[in-house]
Amino acid sequence: MFAARALRSSTPVLRRAQQTRLQSTLQGAQDNAFNRERQAVKDHAAATSDLWRKLSIYVVIPSLLIAGVNAYRLWTEHWEHKSHEPPLEERVEYPYMNIRTKNFPWGDGDKTLFWNPKVNHHKQDE
């Protein structure tokens, strides 16, 4: 409400400002160093965005595919090899493994957050 009254050209400064603004919308942006730089950035952006588009399609997608296939191959190899190892319970549990100075506040207190019984084992000999 206060702003609306101010905009109604009640002061000479505002009237001049409004006129300048009306003039500038009819003629486009003023030609000064600031605007020239902005236009240069915008023109340059067209070229660089095309570069990044090409990179995204012709470099990114093939490298993702290669890395993906490689990871999949190693993954299956790894689990195939794992199945031939001795079972979890027979592995040596070194004194620095499965340290429990205090139990966890969830579940039975012994399993970590991402505990997976297929690969994690905690010897409970006490």
């Binding site: 040596v92 549990e93 070194y94 004194p95 620095y96």
Partner: protein
């Protein structure tokens, strides 16, 4: 105190001589290395192999008995944190 006459201050010397691999104050690794080397030695060469004794004397003088006792227990239990046969 009457004890003073019987005590003599001597500069510190390692029993097996200075080992340049462990020059600093913290001698933990020195103790560990000798313990490991002794046991690797007797595993590889047998208990009667004379040169192994050097390591034995070194670790017995350097290491706290509680450490060697703990490591002996770990070796017996099979979870000593090093492969002694490699």
């Amino acid at each position: 105190m009457s004890d003073d006459e019987e005590r003599v201050t001597m500069p510190f010397k390692f029993v097996t001589g200075f080992d340049a691999r462990f020059p600093n104050q913290n001698q933990t690794k020195h103790c560990w290395q000798n313990y490991v080397d002794y046991h690797k030695c007797i595993l590889a060469k047998g208990e009667d192999f004379k040169p192994c004794r050097q390591f034995f004397i070194a670790y017995r003088s350097l290491c706290p008995a509680s450490w060697t006792a703990r490591w002996d227990d770990q070796r017996d239990a099979g979870n000593f944190p090093l492969r002694l046969d490699q």
